[in-house]
Symmetry: C2
Subunit: 362 residues, 2 copies
C-alpha cells in the first residue's frame, strides 16, 4: 500500500472478458479507485452496468467501476492521475499502428506527466507473450515519463457473452512482477498491486520475482498447443486424439515444438524442466478447450502471433537455436494472420493476376 492515506488510482484499458474481471477484482477489494475504458459497450454499461457470472465472485448485476470512459483520450481529460494503467487488450504489434500498446496508453501517460512529474506511472501489461515491454520502452523514455513496467501473467477462463455481460468459468490466477526485477520501484509497485488486487478466498494473486521465467513457461503452452489448435481449427484435446494413431500430433508437433521453446529459453538463461512438457500435455488432454488464439482466428480477429511466436523465433535466430517445428507453425500462422488482415483491408495483393482458378486434380 502507499504510505499516504490516498488510495491508488487504477485504470483498466480493454473492457473484454479479462479486463472486466480485473476491474471488478480491484473494485471489490476496496483498496483503490477503478476506472475502465469501455469502447463498444459504453452506452450499455452507462445505462445498466455489468452483469458478471463469476466462479470467483458469484452472480453480480448492475456493477459499475468508479469511472467509465469511452476512450483513453476521455480518461486523460479527466485530470485524474492514474497510478496504474492496466492494459488487458490483445497485444498485436503487427496490427494497425493505433492499436499498439504505446499508442493505447499514450494519452494517459502524457496526461499523467502533465499532472505530476514526480509521481510514478505504472503500466501493467496483463498479456501473453515475450518481450512485450520493449515496444513501450522504445516509445517512452522511462525516466522522462517516470514509468515503471509491470508484468501480469494470468490464467483465467472468461468470456464476454454479450454487451456488458461476462461469464467467468475458470478461476482467476495471476502473477504480478516487474519486467525488470532490478527496478526497485517497479518491484515495490508490483507488491502493492498484488495487495490491491487480492480478494482473499476468491482469486489467486502472487508476486512474481521472475517474470521472464513465468512468461516463457506460459509460452510453452501458447507457442505450441495454442498455435496447433489454431491451424487445425480444433480444440486441444481433439488435436491430440485425432493425430495419427492418437500420438502423431504429440510426437511430431507438440513435443518437438515444446523442446524448441525450452531450448530458446535456455539460450537466454531461463531453464524450464522437461516435466513442464508433461504438465502442459496433461492440461491439454484434460478438457475440450479452444485457446484464445484459435477463437480469435475463428472470429476473424487478429491473433497475438508475434508476441507468442514471432518474438521467440527472433530470439532463437539471434542465439542460433534451431527451431524447425516452430518455424513451420509460425510461417503458416503468418498466412492465417494475413488472411485476417486482408479481410480487414489492412493488406492486399498488388498488381497480381485477378483470376482465381480452382482445379480438380492439381
Amino acid at each position: 500500500m502507499n504510505s499516504t492515506a490516498r488510495q491508488p488510482s487504477c485504470i483498466v484499458i480493454g473492457a473484454g472478458a479479462v479486463g472486466v474481471i480485473a476491474a471488478y477484482s480491484l473494485s471489490r477489494a476496496h483498496k483503490c479507485t477503478v476506472s475502465l475504458v469501455v469502447r463498444s459497450d459504453y452506452d450499455h454499461v452507462m445505462k445498466q452496468g455489468y452483469q458478471i457470472d463469476s466462479c470467483d465472485y458469484g452472480f453480480i448485476q448492475c456493477w459499475k467501476p468508479n469511472h467509465v470512459y469511452q476512450s483513453a483520450v476521455d480518461a486523460a481529460s479527466s485530470k485524474i492521475f492514474f497510478d496504474y494503467i492496466i492494459v488487458t487488450v490483445k497485444n498485436i504489434p503487427d496490427g494497425p499502428v493505433q492499436d499498439r500498446i504505446s499508442e493505447i496508453v499514450r494519452p494517459i501517460v502524457d496526461s499523467n506527466r502533465n499532472l505530476s512529474q514526480r509521481r510514478l506511472t505504472n503500466i501493467l501489461l496483463i498479456q501473453n507473450g515475450i518481450d512485450i515491454e520493449k515496444e513501450v520502452l522504445n516509445n517512452f523514455e522511462e525516466t522522462k515519463y517516470n514509468l515503471s513496467l509491470l508484468s501480469g501473467v494470468q490464467m483465467i477462463a472468461s468470456t464476454k457473452i454479450g454487451p456488458g455481460n461476462v461469464q467467468q468459468s475458470g478461476r482467476d490466477s495471476i502473477s504480478i512482477g516487474a519486467f525488470n526485477c532490478e527496478d526497485h520501484r517497479a518491484v515495490s509497485s508490483a507488491h502493492e498491486f498484488v495487495s490491491i488486487y487480492q480478494n482473499e478466498g476468491c482469486n489467486y494473486v502472487d508476486y512474481d520475482p521472475n517474470v521472464r521465467y513465468t512468461r516463457w513457461r506460459k509460452l510453452l503452452y501458447n507457442a505450441t498447443i495454442s498455435t496447433t489448435t489454431t491451424l487445425a481449427g480444433l480444440d486441444a484435446l481433439r488435436c491430440i486424439e485425432f493425430g495419427q494413431d492418437q500420438k502423431g500430433t504429440e510426437v511430431y508437433i507438440l513435443r518437438p515444438a515444446m523442446k524448441e521453446i525450452i531450448a530458446i529459453a535456455a539460450s537466454e538463461g531461463i531453464y524450464l524442466g522437461d516435466d513442464q512438457i508433461e504438465h502442459f500435455l496433461k492440461v491439454a488432454r484434460k478438457l475440450i478447450y479452444k485457446p484464445s488464439m484459435c477463437v480469435d482466428f475463428e472470429k476473424g480477429r487478429l491473433m497475438e502471433l508475434e508476441v507468442i511466436l514471432g518474438h521467440p523465433i527472433r530470439i532463437a535466430q539471434s542465439n542460433e537455436i534451431q527451431t524447425p517445428t516452430l518455424m513451420v507453425l509460425y510461417h503458416l500462422l503468418t498466412l492465417l494472420q494475413a488472411k485476417v488482415k486482408e479481410s480487414k483491408g489492412l493488406i492486399g495483393l498488388e498488381g497480381c493476376p485477378p483470376i482465381l482458378v480452382e482445379n480438380s486434380l492439381n
Copy 2:
C-alpha cells in the same frame, strides 16, 4: 491399337470434372467405346447429357458416352468386357472402406474375369500421389485376375460447375505409362491407351516410360504447395506474397519441404533436379490458384492426404530421410482431415469430457 478389328472398350469410373473430360476425349477420338459411371448426376445426364465448355474442345451440348451406368455394379451386370477401367475418383485410402480403389473397381474386375480369363484387364489410375497402385495389387492377385496397372499423371484445370456441366479452363496434358515398366503387356497397353486418348491438336498425351519419376515430380508441387495452401486457406500466390517480408513462406516452408521431397525421391533412385523447385515456385506465382486439396477441404471433402504426403513420409522413414518440414505439414493436415472425417461421422471423440471452454487469454 489392338491387332483385331475390335475396338477396345473403356469405362471411366468417377464422373467429376476430370472423369467427364477423360470420357469425352476418348469418345471424340472414335477409337474405343466409352462407358461412364455417373453417381450423383445420373438422372440429369440420362435426360440431357453433358454440357462441356472446354478450352481443348470448344462448347459441347447434350453429349453422352456410349453407355452410362449408375454404379460399377450396374456396369458389371452389362456383360461387357472392359479393356480399360479408368479411375478418376479421388484416392483416399484413409476414407471409408467402400471408397478404396480396390473396392471401386472390384465389380468390374470380377465381371471381366467371369467373362474372359484370357483377356487383359487394364486399370488406369488417373490420380495424384505415390504408391497408389499398391492398394490394388494387395487386393487382387495380378495373374489370377490378369491385370495390368497403368498410371496417368494429368495436368488440367477443370471444374464441375453444376449437374452434368463441366468447365475446362486449362489444357488437358496427361502422361500414361505402366506402373511396372518391366510389365511388357502394361507397357503395350499404355501405348495403346495413348493412341485412343489422343485428339490431335487438342489435348497433350504422352507415353511415360518412367512413371515413378513423373509422380515424384508432381508431388514436388502437391506435397508442398498444395498442402501449404490447404493449411492457410489461401491460393498459392497469396501464400507466397503474404509470407513474412514476402519470402517467409518460400524460405521456411516451400523450399525446405521441396528439398525433403527431392531427398526422399533420391533415396529410392529418382533424381529430381533443384531446377524443379524454381519451376514450381514460378508456377505458383503465375496465377491466383487454389489447388484441389485446398478446394476439397474448403468444401468439406476428404483430401488425398495419404497418397500425397503420408506415403512419401513413410518412404522417408523407412529410408531414414529426415523430413522435419513435411512432418509438421502432414500431422497438421491429419487434423484437418480428421475434422472432415468427424463432420461426416467417420470418427469421433470417445469417453471424453463434453465441455467446450473458450478462453479469452490462454
